[in-house]
């Protein structure tokens, strides 16, 4: 308690809110990039949320919404943090119409809980972002998080039909609706997906759901080189088959994943997790022809995870970094995007830039989506060569029209480079949009692209 001799100032409007927590101990663990909040509000209703934002806006109190906290490492260092708003109390399923294949839920609900509700009717939301059990819907939508199955099901921009948001001044607006097609007015929903809560706080989302597939499997293949794995994935992508997910794991991740799922296989190097979903007969054929393709490219089929084992396999993959003993304060997790066909070059570039750093590293490729996730562990503070490598990678991906986004990085790196990279010419359009929606800059200030 000695560390907090006096509580920092908050406006009277906020202090009078009944759900305010100011216990320094409770706030201690909730810092965002070292910035400790002055208060925490646990929201229970939409009206409360509107009230909190209205009061915050009046007093220029800065606000960061929070769900389960699985992505609090995202974004630049906040310019200021007065109030943390815990959204997990706003967690009802508002309306679920299985025969319309749509569900409306409040944002604090965990994706795992939502999936349970849908599964009771043989349906699911086809989204598998990191921590897909505990992550909240609001956090997932705000970060536009996705996972391996985006290859077949797409990302949130293909699933969100409508949303209710509270803008900075506390007014409530509904965009889109419950219809799968809707061109009434501008498609504002797209603007809020992935906006990191900087245009408004998303309170409720309506999503397109799907019938659960009859069968779901992971076909596990190993390859001696990444090149052969990528050639196999290319053949799969261009075949008449429909791979649902294509994840290529380097030896580091391959070993960690095998350990988690208890799969023993040969001492081969790279592992590819191929997802297949669909009707029984189709999956039979895709497994059969999939293995022919794997073998033709010099790979070996190591095994097949069916149903519950497939689920377990994907879950293990979605939270694998957290099964390792990682010092999160010294961890860099970067996401490189590039055109599909550049995956091989992306791997070479990553290896070239990180080989001589003398730190442990790991990478995986989302081969059907043109994404490389690169990890550096136990990064020493102030290591200039790491900054140079990240800048080099950023330059390379930029030359392919892509980006390097740092999803996690030590504070000293974040304070020296924009984690999102250059936004280009359109940054001023983004700034202008932000200015209209949140003129007081109270929502997540500084954390978004270009310091928005």
């Amino acid at each position: 308690m000695n560390h907090f001799p006096s509580l920092p100032h908050l406006p009277a409007g906020i202090l009078s809110l009944p759900c305010l927590v100011r216990d320094p101990l409770a706030l201690e663990g909730l810092s965002v990039d070292g910035e400790r909040p002055k208060g925490l509000i646990q929201i229970k209703s939409l009206e409360e949320l509107a009230e909190v934002l209205k009061e915050s806006n009046k007093g220029r109190t800065t606000v960061i919404p929070r769900g389960s906290g699985t992505k609090m490492s995202w974004g630049n260092v906040p310019r200021s943090l007065d109030l943390l708003v815990d959204m997990r109390g706003l967690n009802r399923v508002v309306e679920y119409t299985p025969e319309n294949l749509t569900v409306t839920a409040e944002c604090g609900i965990s994706l795992g809980r939502l999936q349970e509700v849908l599964a009771a009717h043989g349906q699911f939301l086809p989204l598998d972002p990191p921590f897909f059990s505990i992550a909240t819907l609001g956090g997932i939508v705000s970060c536009n998080a996705s996972g391996p199955h985006r290859l077949i099901y797409g990302t949130l921009r293909d699933m969100v039909l409508g949303m209710k948001v509270v803008t900075a001044d506390g007014s409530i607006a509904s965009f889109g609706g419950r219809c799968v097609k809707n061109v009434t007015g501008y498609d504002m929903v797209k603007g809020f997906i992935g906006s990191l809560g900087t245009l408004g706080v998303i309170a409720e989302v309506t999503l397109k759901v799907r019938p659960l597939p009859e069968r779901e499997v992971i076909q596990v293949a190993s390859f001696l080189t990444p090149e052969s794995g990528l050639l196999a994935s290319r053949s799969l992508l261009h075949s008449v088959l429909f791979p649902a997910a294509l994840e290529l794991l380097d030896p580091f991740w391959a070993e960690a994943w095998r350990f988690q799922v208890g799969l023993s296989c040969g001492e081969r190097d790279w592992l590819m997790l191929i997802g297949w979903v669909g009707f029984q007969e189709d999956v039979d054929r895709m497994l059969r022809e999939g293995s022919e393709l794997i073998i033709r490219h010099g790979g070996r089929v190591e095994g097949i995870c069916e149903a519950a084992a497939a689920k377990k396999g994907w879950e293990a993959w979605s939270q694998l970094p957290h099964h390792l003993e990682i010092d999160v304060r010294k961890w860099v997790r970067g996401r490189l995007s590039f055109p599909l066909a550049d995956a091989g070059r992306a791997i070479l570039e990553w290896q070239r830039q990180t080989a001589s750093l003398g730190v442990r590293s790991g990478l995986s490729i989302r081969a059907g989506s043109g994404i490389l996730f690169g990890h550096l562990f136990d990064v020493p503070e102030g290591a200039e060569e790491i900054m140079r490598s990240l800048e080099g990678l950023r330059e390379w991906t930029g030359s392919r029209g892509g980006r390097l986004v740092l999803e996690t990085a030590p504070l000293w790196i974040k304070s020296r480079m924009d984690v999102w990279g250059e936004a280009g010419k359109q940054l001023w359009l983004m700034r202008r949009l932000k200015e209209k929606f949140d003129p007081g800059h109270i929502l997540n200030p500084g954390r978004y692209v270009g310091g928005i």
Partner: protein
């Protein structure tokens, strides 16, 4: 409103004499689109390159001339009707397919490329472009982007917004911006997502990167015949509830079938009340079992007959009838108003009943074509525009249909856009906070309100576009 000789000279120096139209007889062709609205433009320019578009827009910005981009003018809500006395930028000369990049599963096109042309060109390689509006033979991809066009196959594959990977655009001040591209996941606000479906009111698109997809190995098309429209509607819900997601689930009623048969002979039954066109696609392995299931579900819900297309030619005939439906209706009556309401699909049977009641109450003939699987209905209200009293009844009936859709938890446009025609109905689904957000977006891109003014947003939400200067 006429353009001054000085401005005409400037335009001519940008696009050449052959790229500029200002003769009243030429302009007449550009007064209208496929809606009921009309306005006379001041001039039409036909640029051949992005650089020309930039020059045109810089001039328009400097001279405060309102402008609209135009493809083939197939818009059904007045979105491509010109601002009065303004400038039409017509894209028929920017119609090149710039790149077919199979490795990256995408194509790069200019906005004037016809939707179907792209699919035809990549078909020999085994690929296609999924969104397929009924107008796909003539509607341009630029227009499709502007309207976020749908089509029968968007039930399974999504609308235009789900297939656009990148856009190059010219902002109303002439600045060139690139959004998205072959690399996915650009950080920052999804400006590209906001642009698609903005009805040309935010910027002018000059290049589009679209996703292309593999042609499914197997396709099975059914024509299912019903004696009541309710049974057809219930079958739609039942199929979805069974966990089958067909590529298409289309419905047509008796009035529309009669018109189609009179002009196209698609083999639709004339004595039935409704038909469904159901298409499954995917791998051939599951096809027999799914076909059997579709047959069972339809029969269980009262289908009189389930026909299956046996050859690609038979399939083509079934689809030609559906795609030609709007055109065929023109044989029955000189004019029609097409509405575009969308409702949660489980409300379809109830909404169709109400549409029928509305038709009876107003003494009007209404034909129905529906993207039933999407809950998107297109009641076609037939009339003769020379009968002014009838036209007014039609507009009132159309409005009432939109009200019914809004009350059922739906919306007033599924794929045709708001344009001019549905602005009055915006209040049915938007409140002040929503309209304010739309205005924020419009002002972010187009602070002078030059870019397709008077569309989408009710006029009290935004200052009127300045008229062309004739000095």
């Amino acid at each position: 409103m006429k353009f001054s000789p000085r401005i005409l000279r400037r335009l001519s120096s940008i696009v050449g004499r052959e790229g500029l139209l200002y003769d009243p007889t030429d302009l007449q062709v550009y007064e209208y689109d496929a809606s009921l609205e009309k306005e006379r433009p001041g001039a039409v320019v036909l640029p051949t390159s992005r650089e020309e578009v930039i020059e045109i827009i810089k001039l328009a910005w400097k001279e405060k001339i309102p402008f609209v981009a135009r493809g083939s003018g197939t818009n059904l809500s007045g979105g491509s009707v010109p601002p009065e006395g303004g400038l039409v930028i017509e894209f028929s000369r920017m119609n090149r397919i710039l790149e077919i990049d199979l490795e990256n599963l995408c194509a790069v096109v200019e906005p004037g490329v016809y939707n179907l042309e792209l699919s035809n060109i990549i078909a020999p390689y085994g690929y296609y472009y999924a969104p397929d509006p009924a107008s796909q033979k003539v509607s341009t991809l630029g227009g499709n982007v502007g309207e976020n066009a749908g089509g029968p196959h968007c039930l399974k594959y999504g609308v235009t917004a789900n297939h656009v990977l990148g856009l190059e655009l010219v902002l109303p001040d002439g600045e060139l911006v690139e959004l998205g591209g072959k690399s996915g996941d650009s950080p920052g606000y999804d400006l590209m997502g906001l642009l698609v479906g903005s009805e040309g009111t935010l910027a002018i698109v000059t290049k589009i990167v679209v996703r292309i997809m593999k042609i499914p190995q197997s396709v099975q098309t059914f024509l299912v015949i019903y004696d009541t429209i309710e049974e057809a509607g219930e079958s739609v819900s039942a199929i979805i509830a069974e966990g089958i997601l067909p590529a298409t689930l289309e419905m047509m009623d008796r009035t529309v079938m009669a018109a189609v048969e009179a002009s196209l002979q698609a083999g639709y039954p004339l004595d039935a009340e409704a038909v469904l066109i159901i298409e499954l696609d995917g791998l051939p392995e599951s096809m027999p079992r799914l076909s059997q299931k579709i047959r069972q579900i339809c029969q269980h819900h009262g289908a009189r007959e389930v026909r299956m297309a046996q050859t690609p030619a038979e399939r083509e005939v079934l689809w030609a009838g559906r795609r030609g439906a709007f055109g065929a209706i023109a044989r029955v009556a000189p004019n029609y108003l097409v509405t575009d309401g969308t409702v949660p699909r489980n409300h379809l049977p109830q909404v169709l009943r109400k549409v029928k009641e509305i038709g009876e109450r107003y003494g009007l003939i209404i034909g129905n074509v529906l993207h039933a699987g999407d809950g998107n209905l297109h009641p076609l209200i037939l009339f003769d525009e020379r009968n002014q009293e009838e036209k007014e009844r039609v507009i009132r009936a159309g409005m009432e249909i939109l009200e019914v859709c809004a009350q059922a938890g739906g919306t007033i446009s599924g794929e045709h856009g708001i344009g001019l025609e549905k602005i009055a109905a915006m209040g049915l689904v938007c409140g002040v906070n929503e309209l304010r957000a739309y205005r924020f977006l419009k002002e972010t891109f187009d602070p002078l309100n030059l870019c397709n003014p008077r569309k989408v947003l009710p006029s009290q939400e935004i200052g009127e576009g300045k008229e062309a200067i004739s000095a």
